[in-house]
């Protein structure tokens, strides 16, 4: 009996935070529609206005389907030319030759994948660390300001990250970090070749900084959704705090954390401005992370306004279409995972 009362004090109640965009909050259980309400709704002289209102709201809700469908049809229609000309080979070809009208998306797919993977490798451990610190270890006084700061990272516009990356991160990489990596890890072949500062590694690092907030806030959310009884059970067996976190919390939240990581991946795949500014804009496939590259989003941002002929533009739109489809699949998958974990969770305490 008494256990229940002391539980929030002992382990810290889930804390409140402003919703970051793209974050699914743990839904409160919907209040039940009572009999009285049904009765009252069935009567009344304003049934015309009421049903009109209802239909209007329905229309707006359904318009969201409309928007997605419209985006899809526009992209398919406008990329028709390139789809017909190159077919599936478009995605496996290295050529990018606007002069001769020969286009292939492979270098861009490569750049997008590599920069996103680098970003995930850097961001995931850090994000999970932050989430563990904020939910399980942080003193209450610090929790508010710290979570606010990580949320603030999410609010900084992409172009400002890009600006900072161009003038601070890239020189830092070029002068200090890259030479160090070349010296210590040069034998792997991943850090070879001319050192521009710009390139796939720079893009990966700035992407990591940008997707950290979303991964850590979602991870925090699924960790908060783990029932306190799980933590208490592990602690009661004599576990240390880390063992409690590992066995009681992380193990229970792992599917949700995977969902959060995939959602972060979705962000990284479609991120445009910051990547465009530091990736180097060269459609090449190279084994080195220090080499210049190009990503799917950055080639569109860079070349779309100068695409003079229809085939050129249509090839760029086809890259956009591929990006659209991939991000939809990735996002849907991640949402399903996060939803599966937080669905049965108790409402967050205030």
């Amino acid at each position: 009996m008494n256990l229940k009362i002391q539980e929030p004090k002992e382990l810290g109640s889930p804390e409140t935070m402003a919703p970051v965009d793209g974050v699914v909050s743990v839904a409160t259980p919907p209040p039940q529609t009572s009999e009285i309400r049904k009765y009252l709704l069935g009567r009344g002289s304003s049934s015309v206005a009421d049903s009109g209102f209802r239909w209007l709201m329905l229309l707006c809700a359904v318009s969201i389907f409309g928007i997605v469908a419209l985006i899809a049809t526009e992209l398919i229609l406008r990329s028709n030319l390139s789809i017909n000309k190159f077919g599936l080979a478009f995605f496996f070809k290295q050529a990018w030759d606007p002069v001769n009208g020969d286009y292939g998306a492979l270098p861009f797919i490569f750049g997008t994948l590599v920069s996103s993977i680098v970003a995930l490798i850097i961001a995931v451990p850090l994000a999970v660390g932050v989430a563990v610190f904020l939910t399980e270890m942080c003193p209450k006084v610090l929790r508010g300001p710290l979570s606010f700061l990580t949320e603030l990272l999410a609010a900084i516009p992409s172009v400002v990250y890009g600006l900072w990356a161009v003038f601070v991160l890239v020189p830092l990489l070029r002068e200090d970090i890259n030479p160090f990596l070349m010296k210590t890890l040069g034998w792997t072949g991943l850090f070879a070749g001319p050192n521009f500062g710009l390139g796939l590694l720079a893009a990966g690092v700035i992407l990591a900084i940008m997707i950290l907030p979303i991964i850590s806030s979602l991870t925090r959310e699924v960790m908060t959704a783990v029932p306190h009884t799980q933590r208490e059970a592990v602690l009661a067996l004599g576990a240390t705090r880390w063992e409690m976190i590992r066995m009681g919390v992380l193990r229970n939240a792992r599917i949700g954390i995977v969902g959060a990581v995939i959602l972060g991946l979705g962000r990284a795949l479609g991120e445009t401005m910051a990547v465009t500014m530091v990736i180097g804009s060269r459609p090449e496939i190279s084994h080195s992370l220090l080499a210049l590259g190009h990503s799917m989003a950055s080639v569109i941002a860079n070349e779309f306004s100068e695409a003079s002929d229809d085939l050129y533009r249509s090839a760029l739109i086809e890259i956009g279409l591929a990006l659209f489809i991939v991000t939809i699949i990735v996002n849907a998958f991640a949402r399903l995972l996060v939803w599966a974990v937080t669905r049965g969770a108790p409402a967050r305490a205030s």
Partner: protein, 291 residues
């Protein structure tokens, strides 16, 4: 597992060490995450504040080679774009949220709408830019402020829908029943009772969406194009603050870099103020524990 936790002294030391190590790593990662944020802000303040002056807010860009000039046209342009996008995004977003919370609760349609909204939220902004380009710019054959506003407006919808729904769900049913019991028509009760009660939270959602699109650049590149001169014509290319920052940042001129930093500072202040305001509102009063 069991053999691993024999109560030998060595084992206890190992477990305590692992515990401290993990704590240390968690603290370290928090510091590593906060560090770039602090670095960005300090650098931004340092670079931006030194190049911010009155001319920045009152003048339009000067041609290359001349010193001075400002981004007055871009600030006004961004304002116009945000107004257009809010006019489009806020009503649709709130209405869709009302449908999810008040009419579609628990239905399959509502679940599908919610899911689609979440997925739409994840669509890259550059893709949104292409779609609006081929929807509005290509048929019209010229770039326009309106096209940019539409692209940004569409991006606002999912965030607003989801927050509105969540906020409405927290309004107790007794409030709705009290209104209906007094003979208030349902539409009136939804608008002036339920939505009104939830309004601080709904406004929060709108501000968050606002803060997000205020810094969007990618969908603007080929919808509004940017403009070096004064223009408030909705049917013509218009300047926008994030777009101007981008163009100046990748230019080779120091004077333009200076302006880019000043612009970034203005943009960040705008966004941080609105996010902090949102946080202030959400952590007190009616909404305590709400979001």
């Amino acid at each position: 597992m069991a053999s691993q936790y024999k109560t030998s002294a060595a084992n206890r030391i190992w477990r305590t060490t692992a515990n401290h190590l993990a704590s240390g790593l968690a603290i370290l990662s928090t510091i590593l995450v906060i560090a770039p944020l602090v670095a960005i802000f300090i650098y931004l303040l340092y670079k931006g504040a030194s190049s911010l002056n009155l001319a920045f807010f009152t003048q339009i860009p000067k041609p290359v080679g001349e010193n001075g000039g400002g981004m007055a046209n871009a600030i006004v342009g961004s304002g116009i774009l945000l107004i257009i996008s809010s006019l489009l995004g806020v009503p649709i977003g709130i209405a869709a949220g009302i449908f999810l919370a008040e009419f579609g609760r628990g239905t399959r349609l509502a679940n599908m709408v919610r899911f689609t909204a979440d997925v739409l939220n994840g669509v890259p902004s550059i893709v949104m830019g292409i779609a609006v380009y081929s929807l509005i710019v290509l048929p019209q054959k010229h770039f326009s402020a309106l096209a940019g506003g539409v692209a940004l407006g569409i991006m606002m919808i999912p965030t607003i829908t989801r927050t509105t729904e969540e906020m409405l769900l927290m309004v107790p049913n007794a409030v709705r029943e009290a209104a209906l019991g007094l003979g208030v028509p349902n539409w009136r009760s939804v608008l002036s009772i339920t939505l009104r009660t939830a309004s601080p939270g709904v406004i929060t959602g709108c501000m968050l969406a606002f803060a997000r699109i205020a810094g969007e650049t990618a969908p603007l590149i080929f919808t509004v194009l940017g403009n070096q001169f004064w223009s408030v014509n909705l049917d013509q290319p218009i300047a926008a603050l994030p777009l101007q920052i981008y163009v100046y940042a990748i230019s080779p001129y120091d004077e333009w870099h200076r302006l880019a930093w000043a612009g970034a500072l203005v943009l960040i202040v705008l966004i941080v103020v609105s996010v902090s305001l949102v946080r202030y509102v959400t952590t007190r009063g009616v909404l305590k524990g709400a979001s």
